[in-house]
Amino acid sequence: MNGIDKAFPGVQALTGVHLELFEGEVLALLGENGAGKSTLIKILSGVYQPDSGTISIQGNDPHIHNPIDAQAAGVAVIYQEFNLAPCLSARENIFLGREKTRSGFFSRNEESREALDLFSRMKVSINPETLCRDLTVAQQQITEIAKALHARGKILVMDEPSATLTTQEVRQLFAIIRDLKSQGIGVIYISHRLEEVFEIADRVMVMRDGRHIATKPVRELTRELLIEMMVGRKIENEFPKVPAAIGAERLIVKNMSREGAVKNISFSIRAGEILGIAGLVGAGRTELARLIFGADERDSGEILLDGKRVDIRSPLNAIRAGICLLTEDRKAQGLVLGLGARENFALPNLSHWARFMFINHKNEKKSFAGFVNNLKIKVAHEDQIVQTLSGGNQQKIVLAKWLEANSRVIIFDEPTRGIDVGAKYEIYQIMNELASQGKAILMISSELPEILGMCDRILVMHEGALSGEIANVSQASQEEILSLAMAKQA
């Protein structure tokens, strides 16, 4: 791709971007949200047309005008949201639109054989007849890759493939990617997780504000250098941890259990403390958070807040008691996407400005304006639909909503997922600020550097139970957490 320009009404999305991908290499594409990565990929895959610039694949101009052209030219894209029909089997999805037919009828045996062949090439065992909705996320991803391979893809684009995978599944994915490399397929790998980039990529391309910043072999780069290139300025300390004064025990959780998810967990958090919960995906961390917040029904367990027993049976109880939860999936659980920023902010707090159900809009607006200022939320106007906001600003809206609710205990579930480096830094600062105000903070995160960088104490979960505690965080290492997280398998 050479000299790609793309403008949307009011925005110059791409300016003279140059991308070069060799056979059998992994190119990591990095950049903050809004840097133009997705736009570039959408041009490659034929969703958008460039205003100027050329694309050539193996020396030919493939004339990509729509996604079908792109497919024919050998470009396959695996988006974060998979394009699989959930009620069709893995085999049917792989062959969708390219069914093996014999005199008009598709031949199930032949398709089945080829599907198995594709899976075995990737060294995985998936029954091709399983319906896609019954496959795990990782298996669905592999099905997508198989679909791309079957379409004889020469270029495979993966948009944040590891975001929803467990550590083990990520290893499996990397093994598959290495295998694809050896078959001469070029892979464009988009991720926010820098560790992965160093592990899998051969070269790194960094974009910022719709421009191509640099493309360099990965061995010439360091983590700090990458961040600097992405943000455009030096970030002294990725995790600006400021230890706060630790007070009395704020939240005590005793014997929390839920069949099949959480096993008999007890712990406590002090005022001003940031407690991290680490573990593999599926270890029951999110489920634990939901139990504390009353989002799911618990089988047993009790919660003490500032020494007093609180009865939490619903999120409403939790909010009234002063516990809040920033969910890991902002779009599905944290925000009403079709409503405006202010309305989302106000949702749990309407009683603050309401007298017998009637909302005083003036006070509501005043309060929201205060948070927009303090948290530096970028909104065009207070009624901007939150769907149109960036991940970082969405997270800030959720944060503002719970700060207004004046919670004493704040549970962050993957607070920085899908958020770019600059906004991450701001969110860490807000966490520090909250801790210094004496709030108790529980942080669930799959990003080990983040947990190690921000927490005063770390709990590790494995298969629904606590498998260890790290009290001295400054001496701890990622390996230590990982070995605890995989306790029983190791």
Binding site: F8, P9, G10, V11, A13, F293, A295, S314, P315, L316, A318, I319, R320, L325, T327, A332, Q333, G334, L335, V336, L337, G338, L339, E343, A346, L347, P348, L350, S351, A354, M357, F358, I359, H361, A380, H381, I385, Q387, T388, K401
Partner: protein, 448 residues
């Protein structure tokens, strides 16, 4: 500049339908522009003002048909003239044949007549009779001055539009709330029938034609309560057992309709007192609007305030936009859903009362297909079937768009089969407009 632009587009997206309604009104006004012949009291007053310059001793003959309107004309004119001091007045009422007889008698008696006053509609017939009687043929015929005015914009016709739509509009309030929560209520048509049958049956059993106004009110509230309970049952099935609203209310539609037939034994119930029509036909002192229309305005005002100014309204929007996020923000989602289905049921019950009051009877066939008109009003009014957005006042506009189109087509003599086709396309057009609006919005999102 950008801000202004977005304000303008927001205004258009919120009130674009109002613009269409106004266009429709203008269109039908032009189409129905014609010569209007005043009738009744109004005609009498106009004629009287024309007479004012005449000699008070003139002998005047007032000729009219014996219909109610014409009787009003004749009586009013007579009393006006008497008051003004006219002495010599003759009154003739009846069909052309009897008028002819009376006039012949007058001519034979050689009565002196200087003027014949009659209505515009009757003038040709009277004039023909007059020409056959030599003694009267020179007497001038006076009719109230007619004027050019669109039939559509006549007060009577506008009232007609309001009366036609009042039931649908009232129920559409509840339906808007239900649809904003991403639900649907198909049972409202049957609830109209059930409510109409129950109220007339109850009134019939507690006094029939002799029932007091208090009894009627009590029976009405009982019927509304019953419909509210049926709404609550739908809501319960939807919240407790996660039955899709479409199916739950489809079931209740059959149940309610069945009960209406069982209670009425399949026949209309007429056993109600004359005061029963107070709500549907009675005129309120306020602008002479029918009570039902006034009630509709009050309901819209309350619903608008609920949806825009109260926590309840905000919660309804949130539940429709994302029930899980709403729940995790402390909204009692099930309670909100229950509320909207109860409201919708009760509004359908009220709609049934108004229908039965307008028709002075209750029959299990009332409200057939009304759910579709109600849903159409809501959708034309800009509420999205996927939930989370919509406006109460938009629904009112939507209801009036449908009523105006129907009424306008009646006035311009479009036959009823064609009307169906047009209405169908109007509904499709409204939904299409909604989709285009959304697609434009999505395009903006991508560029951001």
């Amino acid at each position: 500049m950008i801000q202004k632009n977005s304000l303008f587009s927001r205004f258009l997206s919120n009130y674009g339908m109002l613009f269409i309604l106004i266009l429709l009104c203008v269109f039908f006004s032009i189409m129905t522009l014609s010569t209007q012949h005043p009738e009744g009291e109004k005609a009498a007053r106009i004629l009287f003002s024309e007479l004012a310059s005449r000699d008070k001793n003139a002998a005047i003959l007032i000729v009219s048909k014996s219909s109610r309107e014409d009787a009003a004309f004749s009586d009013t004119l007579q009393s006006l003239l008497k008051e003004a001091g006219y002495q010599s007045l003759e009154i003739v009422k009846g069909d052309p044949a009897s008028v002819k007889n009376s006039l012949e008698k007058l001519a034979n008696e050689n009565a002196s007549i200087d003027l014949i006053a009659t209505t515009s509609n009757y003038a040709p017939a009277v004039s023909r009779i007059r020409e056959n009687l030599p003694s009267l043929s020179s007497v001038s015929l006076l009719t109230p001055k007619s004027s050019k005015w669109p039939t559509f914009l006549l007060a009577d016709n506008l009232m007609n539009v309001a009366n036609q739509i009042v039931v649908i509009a009232i129920i559409a309030v509840g339906m808007t709330m239900v649809i904003i929560t991403a639900g649907i209520d198909l049972s409202v048509g049957s609830l109209i029938a059930l409510s109409a049958v129950v109220v007339t049956w109850l009134v019939g059993r507690s006094g029939g034609a002799g029932a007091s106004f208090f009894i009627i009110t009590l029976c009405s509230f009982a019927a509304i309560l019953l419909c509210g309970c049926i709404g609550a049952f739908s809501g319960f099935m939807i919240t407790r057992f996660r039955i899709p609203p479409f199916i739950a209310t489809l079931g209740m539609m059959q149940v309610a309709s069945g009960f209406a037939y069982i209670i009425s034994r399949g026949k209309p119930i007429y056993d109600v007192p004359d005061t029963f029509v107070w709500l549907g036909r009675g005129k309120s002192p306020f602008l002479a609007l029918p009570w039902a229309v006034l009630l509709m305005i009050v309901i819209y005002a309350i619903a608008h305030i609920i949806m825009t100014r109260t926590t309840l309204g905000r919660h309804i929007y949130a539940v429709g936009g994302n029930p899980e996020a709403a729940r995790l923000s402390g909204v009692r989602v099930n309670r909100i859903l229950l509320f909207v289905y109860i409201t919708c049921g009760a509004m359908a019950g009220l709609g049934g009362i108004v229908t039965s009051s307008q028709l002075k009877s209750g029959a299990p066939t009332y409200g057939l297909m009304y759910e579709l008109y109600v849903i159409a009003s809501v959708v034309v009014g800009g509420t999205s079937l996927s939930g989370g957005e919509g406006k109460i006042l938009g629904t009112l506009i939507g209801a009036f768009i449908i009523a105006v189109i129907q009424n306008g087509m009646n006035l311009t003599n479009v036959e009823s089969y064609t009307q169906k086709v047009v209405l169908g396309f109007v509904i499709l057009g409204a939904v299409l407009l909604d989709m285009l609006k959304k697609r434009g919005w999505r395009r903006r999102k991508k560029s951001a």
